[in-house]
């Protein structure tokens, strides 16, 4: 499978869409995670606002970095997963790959491993960029730089990787299922941005719908990052998609289970379906 991983990494490394999505994510992180809150902070020396400056400082690095993973970052990597799987069908490259030496599952395993590596890199770079931004703001305000404990950092990185991995595999499954990119991305975004919100909005009124929402990808991803201290939707200007609907542990377990289900379903499709 190592050969498949190397091949997939070469494809991903040279694919412009990967860099575009990564760049968009980092730009969003900086803009909505630091710059806009800073310029609107009542504590900053720049201008009035509502966000407390303390939340942008290095001590709050984990919460401020992972806050966007539940919805915005998740949507972006969902697009990545759909592109990686769906375009193989659209370009006809899957048949070319599957007539090389590795079996179907080895090729699929290579894709998973390579995506895992890319996502880990995205998470690490996100934390590095957040660290740089928060340290810069602290220095600009003349405040002491106090980093979070290493254990919190590791937990945040692991949680971020898990949440992004789940969303990415959701996209990968949709791309495999639809054998294309456009429909997969459309369905994925509608699910993440519309369907889950509608279910959550109605869950208070219907008991059975409350049970349903507790197994949804976005709800559990939001609960995981909320457990890490990210400001949620109930906190005024908190991050959309972040809400402690279930506990952090339950959220992490459910996200892990969903990740496994998405991967297994996609693997079955890749293994069993005809490649036309």
């Amino acid at each position: 499978m190592l050969a498949s991983v190397r091949a997939e990494l070469l494809k991903l490394r040279k694919r412009p869409a990967v860099w575009v999505l990564g760049g968009v994510w980092l730009a969003m992180l900086l803009t909505f995670g630091y710059l806009l809150p800073y310029f609107s902070s009542p504590d900053s020396t720049v201008g009035p606002g509502a966000s407390p400056l303390a939340e942008l400082l290095p001590g709050n690095l984990v919460a401020n970095t992972v806050g966007g993973y539940a919805l915005f970052g998740g949507a972006l990597v969902m697009i990545l997963g759909a592109l990686v799987a769906g375009s193989e069908y659209g370009w006809g490259s899957l048949k070319t790959v599957l007539t090389q030496r590795p079996g179907r599952l080895a090729v699929f395993g290579g894709t998973l491993a390579a995506l895992g590596a890319i996502l880990l890199a995205v998470v690490l770079v996100s934390f590095a960029v957040s660290a740089g931004a928060s340290a810069t703001l602290a220095a600009a305000e003349g405040l002491p730089i106090q980093w979070p404990p290493v254990a919190d950092l590791v937990q945040g990185i692991a949680a971020g990787w898990l949440v992004l991995g789940m969303w990415c595999l959701f996209g990968l499954l949709l791309g495999t299922l639809t054998r294309g990119t456009a429909l997969a991305i459309g369905l994925g975004l509608v699910w993440a941005l519309v369907v889950e919100n509608l279910i959550r909005a109605s869950a208070n009124a219907l008991e059975w719908l409350d049970a349903v929402q507790r197994v949804l990808p976005g709800v559990n991803a939001g609960s995981v990052v909320a457990a890490l201290g990210a400001r949620g939707e109930g906190d005024g200007d908190g991050t959309p998609g972040v809400a402690a609907i279930v506990s952090g542990t339950q959220g992490a377990l459910t996200v892990t289970a969903l990740l496994v289900v998405f991967a297994a379903a996609a693997a079955v499709l890749v293994q069993r379906r005809d490649v036309l």
């Binding site: 498949s4 091949a7 070319t96 030496r101 005809d274």
Partner: protein
């Protein structure tokens, strides 16, 4: 690549006894009910270039996909290089180009091959070799999206050679190539066969098939309706005799060759005759006092044979 000579066919210089592809009763019926391939029996031997002929929708590509494990047969059995279709041990010895070349448009031709080389577990140095064989070295740095159809086809053929395969499955490999490219491709395919590899070639270019294939299978409506050498498929050549008086010529020819071997059509005779006996026939005609004005061999072209066969069949697949 070295191979042992098992059995040499006269005039071909290739061994032809070790089966590389064996399909028995291969059938594919899609969920829609369409019967794409219907009980196909197929055998391709080592060192043989096997031509797969058939009209559009006849089932050629579906058969090839089944051999490669891309499509699962509904019924029937297949082994390719002794392995079930799609098994890594078999795929590592197969080079395949099925339908249009499928590559990554954002990658250069070279990087596309590097990706496939990694999947196939062959060193990157092999990429430059096959780029050279395909005549793409000068444009290897261009992205695939900017390639012409012919260049894409060349890259597809290059990809099939990466793992130095024992079996090549080539589906319309000359599509989009200019005449020089087609000639290059024919030479390459002939050379690959001469090197002891088996080649399964589907093509609409009947002239191409005539030139490079040792045996031909004709598929129509999902069924193999004929399989033989090109010469056998075309049938024994007839000798056209134009002479006067024609009645005397017919008697003399029949006396030499037998009544059944001589037919009078219009103002000429058509004789079934061993080419080695043409001179003997000429002398007999002259001795019979006949003025011989024309003696020529008349072979049916593969195209004539193909059209005659396939227009009698009604394809049932799209």
């Amino acid at each position: 690549m070295t191979t042992s000579i098992i059995e040499t066919q006269p005039g071909q210089g290739r061994q032809a006894a070790v089966p590389v592809v064996v399909a028995r009763g291969l059938t594919k019926r899609y969920r829609s009910g369409v019967l794409a391939v219907d009980a196909v029996d197929l055998q391709v031997n080592r060192g043989e270039v096997y031509g797969f002929l058939g009209p559009n929708g006849a089932g050629k590509t579906t058969t090839m996909r089944m051999l490669l494990g891309l499509i699962r047969p509904t019924s029937g059995s297949v082994t390719v290089l002794g392995q079930p279709p799609g098994a890594p041990a078999g795929l590592s010895r197969i080079g395949a180009l099925v339908e249009s070349p499928g590559f990554y448009p954002y990658l250069s031709g070279r990087d596309n091959l590097r990706v496939l080389a990694r999947y196939a577990g062959v060193p990157d140095s092999r990429v430059e070799e096959v780029l050279g064989v395909a005549g793409l070295s000068d444009r290897a740095g261009d992205t695939f999206a900017r390639y012409s159809l012919g260049m894409k086809q060349r890259l597809g053929v290059a990809s099939t050679l990466l793992n130095d395969p024992d079996l090549l499955v080539l589906d319309e490999p000359t599509n989009g190539l200019d005449p020089a490219g087609m000639a290059d491709m024919r030479r390459l395919i002939a050379r690959l066969g001469a090197e002891g590899r088996a080649v399964l070639l589907s093509s609409h270019q009947l002239g191409e098939v005539e030139q490079v294939c040792d045996r031909v299978g004709v598929i129509s409506g999902g069924r193999v309706i004929a399989e033989s050498t090109v010469a056998e498929l075309r049938g024994q050549a007839e000798l056209v005799v134009v002479a006067t008086p024609l009645a005397d010529a017919a008697r003399a020819a029949a006396a030499l060759l037998g009544e059944s071997a001589v037919q009078r059509r219009g103002d000429a005779l058509r004789c079934q005759i061993d080419p080695a006996r043409v001179g003997e026939l000429n002398r007999a005609l002259v001795r019979a006092g006949v003025d011989v004005t024309e003696l020529r061999r008349d072979e049916r072209s593969l195209e004539e044979v193909f059209l005659a066969m396939t227009t009698q069949e009604v394809p049932d697949v799209g």
